[in-house]
């Protein structure tokens, strides 16, 4: 009796260990994908695994990574923010105009706005634009997709108005962009791009809020089961507005850093980046229907997209094929994710 029980127990323990291991691998899926991709590229191209190249990738991915943090919040509530890149452009345009040109309102010349105030106004534009999204969605019960599709166009239009459709600073500009802004966008600390560090700080703050604050819980609850959140007394409207405002703020931060990197702003900058931020979030394992996921996955998702683009460049793949490859990766990752969810819940 005891003789055949022991191997039984051992077998069961082994089975459970295997199951746990499988669970961990599933959780770490995106990270493993990133490591494999980087391992492959290190073999395929000798230029990939160099400090310069990697720091270049980090600098280029920082923008999408910051957007992806805000996008994660929005997607966790079951929404989607198509207007993030447009908010980036609007906030960046307004900040850049204020930084380089005297403020003229209703024919009155107010002179140059102090530099910190100009940046602050840019950030506030992001918060207000995002908050407007949230307000429209919750006040008028419009689907998130439609509301942000509309504001995306409107914000681009506003940015065109602000810049007159011209790049800023334009050739006859008075003031130059401040040095520190250019450092934020393109500088480095011990070889690490400052913009990537900022992205990391944003992710850290984003993780903290999700994990330790009432807002974080409210976001998961609203996305996981709206009815439950509502009957527990959580205000869906306030949660939504707050979430979109955070997404807008992060978009503004990303946009202003981008101005530093490009040493210029224009109303049409960062076009299409909203889709890359959504792709990062989905690749990172956050459920598109809400309620499940987190910030770190999205950062890894953004890294995967960045590394892939860089690697294909190094391998001299034509830009046309690069687009196809990126599309394929997104679809394959989501298929894998669906399969993972099924095996976790069903089998």
């Amino acid at each position: 009796m005891t003789a055949d029980k022991n191997p039984d127990l051992a077998a069961e323990a082994a089975e459970n260990r295997k199951a746990r291991l499988r669970g961990m691998i599933f959780q770490a899926g995106p990270l493993i994908a990133l490591v494999l991709l980087m391992a492959y590229l290190s073999f395929a191209s000798e230029n990939f695994l160099t400090f310069d190249n990697l720091s270049n990738v980090a600098r280029q991915s920082a923008f999408v990574a910051i957007l992806a943090v805000g996008q994660t919040y929005v997607i966790l509530t079951g929404g989607i923010d198509l207007s993030v890149a447009a908010i980036s452009a609007l906030a960046a345009s307004i900040a850049a105009v204020l930084l380089t040109q005297p403020l003229v309102l209703f024919g009155m010349d107010f002179g140059y706005v102090p530099v910190p105030l100009a940046v602050l106004i840019g950030l506030c534009v992001g918060i207000v634009a995002g908050g407007l999204n949230g307000w429209l969605i919750s006040r008028f019960q419009i689907p998130d997709f439609i509301a942000t599709l509309g504001t995306m166009t409107a914000f681009r239009g506003a940015a065109l108005l602000v810049t007159d459709g011209l790049p800023v600073p334009s050739f006859n500009a008075g003031r130059q962009l401040p040095e520190w802004l250019i450092w934020l966008g393109g500088g480095q600390i011990f070889g690490v791009p400052v913009s990537a560090l900022i992205a990391l700080v944003c992710a850290l703050a984003g993780w903290y809020v999700l994990r330790f604050t009432t807002l974080g819980r409210a976001i998961y609850a609203v996305g996981g089961n709206r009815a439950a959140a509502h009957s527990a007394g959580i205000s869906i409207a306030r949660t939504k507005i707050m979430t979109y405002a955070i997404s807008g703020l992060l978009a503004a931060i990303a946009g202003i850093i981008l101005v530093g990197r490009l040493n210029s702003a224009n109303a049409l900058m960062a076009e299409g980046e909203e889709l890359r931020s959504i792709a990062s979030v989905v690749i990172g394992g956050t459920n598109l229907f809400g309620g499940e996921g987190g910030v770190w996955g999205s950062i890894i998702g953004a890294a995967i997209i960045g590394v892939l683009g860089n690697g294909l460049n190094l391998l001299d793949v034509s830009p046309f094929w690069q687009r196809i490859a990126q599309g394929v990766v997104i679809v394959v990752v989501v298929i894998f994710d669906q399969w993972r969810r099924r095996t976790m819940t069903r089998v």
Binding site: R20, T214, Y220, N225, A227, A228, G291, T345, V347
Partner: protein
């Protein structure tokens, strides 16, 4: 030894989920013309077994024989073809579709050119529902119906396919007496025609009414199968829980305090017409009614989830007007709603699900009280015997009864002083019910008051200080504790 026709035979079925061995080794058989009642504590593996038989889960070991033929690779379609029908514990209807569409999902009667013959479909649906003695409008959208009605539709849908083997997973958890007795009539009819039925329930009083044999599961194994005649409550409880039970209804008498919650001429929804009551501090006030008597609308109206059509509500003597649940919570109310799908956050573990009720009224930027969350989670896991006791598993993977316990813990821990419990013990096993009642007694002793809306006669008899009986949306009787008896409740309700 008598010869029986064996419809279904399971041999050493095993089911392993990642990290959980839900079924260790299940062997049982179902005979033609019998009702086999399947019992077991929350999390024993009953629903998992049913889902395996319906082809929704794949077993990780063991064999299944249907009518003498071994089947492998069971899928939902194959199970239906083999004549296996399952009524799910968690209602699986499509809320946005009509009753008819839900009953005939995927098999709508069609006319020329494949066009749906709506007239025939609705007529068939009405006819099918009448077999259970219910008059539900077949054109109504399912989400507008109350839980008991949804449960009846779920049953109708399974019956409509004429399964040879019918699996009923807690079909009566939301039904009151009269609907249940009609369901039992239908089951007896199926029995006579030689169908085999597995019937899962936590109501032990149903065993003598319906069972031929009783099988008890514990922790994924079959403890015993006995003829119904030998399955008295004491025997099955000791088989189920493996220990002696404490007092089932640990009622403490509390001296009543000032009025906590009062309603005057409350009307809401289409069923609740006129309800007036006063709930005192320290009181458990029961509400009983048959399906459609209006009790399903009370909670939503009191809690500001659904606007009342008429009437006034007052809390601690002052009139209130709740525009949303947040207002109600701020005034000290708590609501356990009867449909737990409306309360769970399935992809979160136990801690966040319990602490959800603490968030109301807090600033969104305030910090969570994680130590308290951990503390209360551990406490209620022990107090209410929540299994698995894991703090990392998401609620999605919990058994139905354990999910219910978590929602109960949410409101018990909320600090609300006026609790509205709508079918609080739905799906909870006998052992844990006693623990739930013990906590309810503790809460009222500490000065809370509880409005307990229930379709369970013995719970009302055991726990309530007073019971309001509803009929046709109005109060037909108010029974003081001494007069709360089965006869009285049923007499005034029907």
């Amino acid at each position: 030894m008598e010869e029986y026709e064996i419809l279904l035979k399971l041999d050493r079925i095993e089911k392993r989920f990642p990290g959980v061995l839900a079924l260790k080794s299940i062997s049982l058989d179902v005979r033609a013309g019998e009702v086999q009642v399947l019992l077991g504590e929350n999390g024993a593996g009953k629903s998992t077994l049913m889902k395996i038989l319906a082809g929704e889960h794949e077993p990780t070991g063991g064999t299944i024989e249907v009518a003498g033929r071994r089947v492998s690779g069971l899928t939902p379609t194959l199970a239906t073809e083999l004549g296996i029908g399952l009524v799910h514990q968690e209602l699986s209807l499509v809320p946005a579709l009509s009753v008819t569409e839900n009953i005939f999902l995927g098999r709508m009667p069609t006319g020329a050119f494949g066009r749906i013959d709506w007239k025939k479909a609705h007529a068939d649906a009405r006819h099918a529902l009448e077999a259970l003695g219910v008059a539900i409008d077949p054109t109504a959208e399912v989400r507008t119906l109350e839980v008991a009605e949804q449960q009846l539709i779920e049953i109708t849908r399974a019956l409509e396919r004429g399964p040879r083997i019918l699996l009923l997973d807690e079909p009566t958890s939301a039904l009151s007496d009269s609907e249940r007795s009609r369901l039992f009539d239908v089951i007896r009819l199926l029995k006579q025609r030689g169908h085999g039925i597995i019937y899962i329930s936590h109501h032990l009083s149903e065993i003598p009414m319906i069972a031929d044999r009783v099988t008890v599961l514990r922790d994924g194994i079959v403890v015993d199968t006995l003829p119904a005649a030998e399955a008295d409550e004491e025997t099955v409880i000791s088989l189920m829980v493996g220990r002696q039970l404490a007092e089932q209804f640990p009622k403490r008498t509390v001296t009543l305090g000032s009025p906590a919650l009062a309603a005057e001429h409350l009307a809401a929804g289409h069923a609740l017409k006129d309800l007036s009551f006063t709930l005192h501090r320290g009181e458990i006030l029961g509400v009983y009614g048959l399906m459609g008597a209006g009790q399903a609308e009370i909670a939503g109206a009191l809690f500001g989830l659904q606007p009342a059509r008429a009437g006034t509500i007052s809390v601690n003597g002052a009139p209130v007007h709740f525009r949303s649940s947040a207002d109600a919570i701020a005034a000290g109310l708590g609501l356990l709603s009867r449909d737990r799908r409306q309360s769970l956050v399935p992809m979160q573990p136990i801690g966040p699900n319990i602490s959800l009720s603490w968030l109301a009224g807090k600033s969104l930027l305030s910090r969570l009280d994680l130590p308290r969350e951990r503390e209360e989670s551990t406490r209620y896991v022990a107090d209410l015997r929540i299994r698995p006791a894991s703090t990392t598993h998401n609620l999605f993977f919990y058994s139905g009864g354990n999910q219910q316990k978590v929602i109960l813990a949410r409101w018990m821990s909320s600090g609300a002083s006026i609790l509205i419990f709508d079918e609080p013990t739905r799906g909870i096993d006998v052992g844990a019910k006693a623990e739930v009642f013990a906590v309810m007694s503790r809460l009222v002793a500490e000065g809370a008051s509880i409005l307990m809306i229930s379709s369970e006669l013995n719970e009302l008899i055991g726990m309530a200080d007073r019971v309001l009986v509803l009929r046709g949306g109005r109060i037909s009787a108010e029974l003081p504790r001494a007069e709360i008896t089965q006869e009285n409740l049923l007499r005034y309700a029907s």
